[in-house]
């Protein structure tokens, strides 16, 4: 066991996969010599060589395209898109190619790529360094979408993603890299080293894709969250004293519907929180599924707390970010039915 923050855990996952499997390669903008603008690939080139860990041109479309080609050859490329906000030039290769290659060839070819990318706000990144575009990709059949909320899961899920034979989008909540930020931007963030999930095995392990985690058992209301919002929801539960059951989805596609339905059938109400814009965000799918599968146990409307339907405004970051106050208010509305 070692104490790791999220960056170190992610770095360790890639380090281990590079060591275990010669077919794994890691590349992206500034990831090679420099080790990544967030240091996620720090020292990996030094350890594994320039042909396995290298810098890429500033062409997200080209990065994903060549990764798909390498995957078709038989490699397991792990690429970094420097910010999720810059993934769009790669959407065609992700949606039209990576997601469909196995299907259109009836399994003759596939593309076992992992696309790592930091997402979410809270760092004054404005509209182009704060986005949460997961909802665009969860709509695409053939892609898997994973979003960890702590170092332990981050390492285990990333190893599982790299070793998975389907294309996986791995969104990293950049605001959590250094600690379990709970939305109280006016308070210091406790370091991961002081958090149980900062305890990370040094060696190889997987956290299976497609399995959610009940991070706080409760009976009053079910809260569906992932990434940064996990810690916001936990804070809101503590601060309101509401006995909320907080479920960290961890994988959005494929979704662990069983765990969700069991919880909502028990609590009778559900609050969904994400940082992405509300309309057509992943929360919409969650709400649609919950009302379909738990209709007769629901005692109140499902509440969605999400980013407003605007770009992320630089100066009003904390009015935009769905913090503990907004989530707490939603919890109250849910239980005061």
């Amino acid at each position: 066991m070692a104490r790791m923050n999220m960056i170190q855990a992610i770095n360790s996952a890639m380090d281990i996969c590079l060591a275990n499997d010669q077919k794994v390669v890691v590349f992206g903008q500034d990831v090679g010599y420099f080790g990544g603008v967030f240091r996620a690939t720090d020292r990996l080139q030094e350890r594994h060589g320039e042909t396995r860990v290298f810098d890429a041109p500033i062409a997200e479309g080209g990065i994903i395209a060549t990764a798909v080609g390498m995957g078709a050859y038989g490699m397991r490329p792990v690429v970094e898109i420097q910010f999720a906000d810059y993934i769009y030039p790669g959407t065609d290769q992700l949606i039209s190619e990576a997601a469909r290659l196995r299907y259109r060839t009836a399994g003759e070819w596939w593309s076992p790529i992992t696309v790592r990318t930091p997402y979410g706000g809270g760092i004054y990144g404005g509209q182009t360094h704060s986005q949460s575009p997961e909802g665009i990709f969860t709509h695409v059949a053939g892609l898997k979408t994973v979003i960890p909320s702590n170092p332990y899961d981050a390492k285990g899920l990333l190893i599982a993603a790299i070793e998975d034979d389907d294309p996986v989008l791995f969104f990293e909540p950049k605001r959590l890299y250094n600690g379990p930020f709970d939305g109280h931007h006016d308070r210091p963030v406790t370091a991961w080293s002081k958090h149980p999930a900062g305890e990370v095995p040094e060696g190889h392990y997987q956290v299976p894709l497609g399995k959610a985690a009940v991070v706080r058992p409760g009976s009053a209301v079910t809260v569906l969250v992932y990434g940064t919002m996990v810690h916001v929801a936990l804070a809101a539960a503590e601060e309101t004293g509401i006995d909320a059951e907080v479920i960290d989805l961890r994988t959005l596609v494929p979704l662990d519907l069983e765990t969700i339905v069991a919880s909502v059938d028990k609590t009778g109400c559900c609050v969904i929180v994400h940082e992405a814009t509300l309309t057509c965000g992943f929360g919409a799918e969650l709400a649609a599924l919950v009302q379909q599968h738990c209709f007769y146990s629901l005692e109140a409307p499902i509440e969605r707390v999400a980013g407003w339907d605007t770009p992320y405004p630089h100066a009003f970051e904390w009015d935009y970010f769905p913090g503990p106050a907004r989530v707490g208010a939603a919890l109250r509305r849910a239980v005061e039915r």
């Binding site: 395209a65 080609g69 390498m70 490699m75 259109r104 003759e108 070819w109 053939g142």
Partner: protein
């Protein structure tokens, strides 16, 4: 250009090819054309939904396939069926795909002509133009990194060079010295718009390669010998780890874009009959005749034989079904291969479909 109008092979690029090899090339080109002709007919008969011919561009695919190794990987567009033919891939298997029938290895999932054959080193054709070009460079990078001697060969149309993937392919190929042959098939048309709309008027497409520091050749794409020689040279460079080569193949789309297209709406009726650059099949057979290795009788006999062969293969394939009449794969199979293992939500949806909900 190696073959002149008289069918003489001239110049230093003239490859040393035995008459047998040339006859194999001629045969593959003629077979490709015979295949195209039949498939257009069956499409008209309603046996499938769509078809695309490569008439006039047979040399582009066939000569290239013969100049590279059998296990080099091809990343083609929908107009290089000649690659499969030249690699002796069974026509009936190609037909099964066109018919989406019960024998279709792609299980009825792809539109006609979007073939895929791992065994034939023929990468899955995507409906999205250009995407295969940059993927080919990734494949080549992986091959080089694995100290594998196989190279990648990719094709893209003149029109599709305007896509970002073309730029990505050349950039990455240049930066990482990818062992790839990057072919640009300039058949002068992109559906209704001529090559000028991809910037082909102001300069050549071959010139694009130079801008990335990649050696680039511009060859007569209807000249079997020229295509062979250029490809052979590029393949040798790639295998010697000297990096990628760009080859512009100047040819002409002698027919419509596809069975859904009507070229009379946008180009002069006599343009096609004038056949710019000539018919690659005629030109090669003229050359073989000139060197005393071919004659009209043998040509006619071969044409007959190939026609019969295509007919037989057609019968064999249609026995496995057509899109119009079936049989096809089990419809429940349409939920397979979205992921390696079928997740719960797709199992639920398959149930729903079978229960008619």
């Amino acid at each position: 250009r190696v073959l002149d109008d008289a069918g003489e092979a001239r110049g230093e690029w003239r490859p040393e090819l035995s008459p047998d090899v040339l006859r194999r090339g001629l045969r593959a080109m003629m077979l490709t054309r015979a295949y195209d002709e039949r498939m257009v007919r069956v499409q008209r008969q309603g046996k499938t939904s769509f078809y695309m011919k490569s008439t006039g561009e047979e040399a582009v695919a066939v000569a290239a396939a013969m100049a590279i190794d059998r296990n080099d990987m091809c990343f083609p567009t929908y107009r290089q069926q000649g690659l499969l033919v030249a690699r002796d891939w069974p026509l009936r298997d190609m037909m099964n795909q066109v018919y989406s029938n019960s024998g279709d290895r792609l299980r009825g999932r792809q539109m006609p002509v979007f073939y895929s054959s791992r065994e034939a080193g023929f990468f899955s054709i995507s409906g999205n133009l250009g995407t295969q070009y940059s993927q080919a460079v990734g494949w080549a990078m992986a091959s080089a990194a694995s100290r594998d001697s196989r190279i990648a060969a990719a094709w893209i149309g003149d029109g599709a060079t305007a896509e970002g993937d073309f730029h990505y392919a050349l950039t990455f190929a240049s930066v990482y010295r990818a062992p790839a042959i990057l072919n640009i098939v300039n058949n002068q048309w992109a559906i209704s718009s001529f090559a000028g709309f991809a910037g082909g008027e102001a300069t050549t497409f071959a010139a694009r390669g130079l801008a990335y520091g990649l050696p680039s050749l511009r060859v007569d794409g209807n000249d079997f010998l020229a295509v062979f020689a250029a490809t052979q040279w590029a393949a040798a460079r790639a295998r010697a780890n000297l990096g990628a080569t760009v080859i512009e193949l100047v040819t002409y789309r002698a027919d419509g874009h596809s069975t859904s297209d009507d070229p009379s709406r946008y180009r002069a009726a006599d343009e096609a009959s004038a056949w710019p650059l000539g018919d690659p099949i005629e030109r090669l057979s003229r050359h073989l005749t000139a060197i005393g290795e071919w004659d009209e009788v043998r040509h006619a006999a071969l044409a007959e034989e190939l026609k019969e062969h295509v007919r037989e293969e057609g019968r064999a394939s249609e026995a496995l079904g057509t899109l119009g009449q079936g049989p096809q794969h089990d419809r429940a199979s349409m939920f397979d291969d979205v992921y390696k293992e079928m997740p719960a939500h797709l199992r639920r949806q398959r149930e729903q479909m079978l229960e008619g909900r």
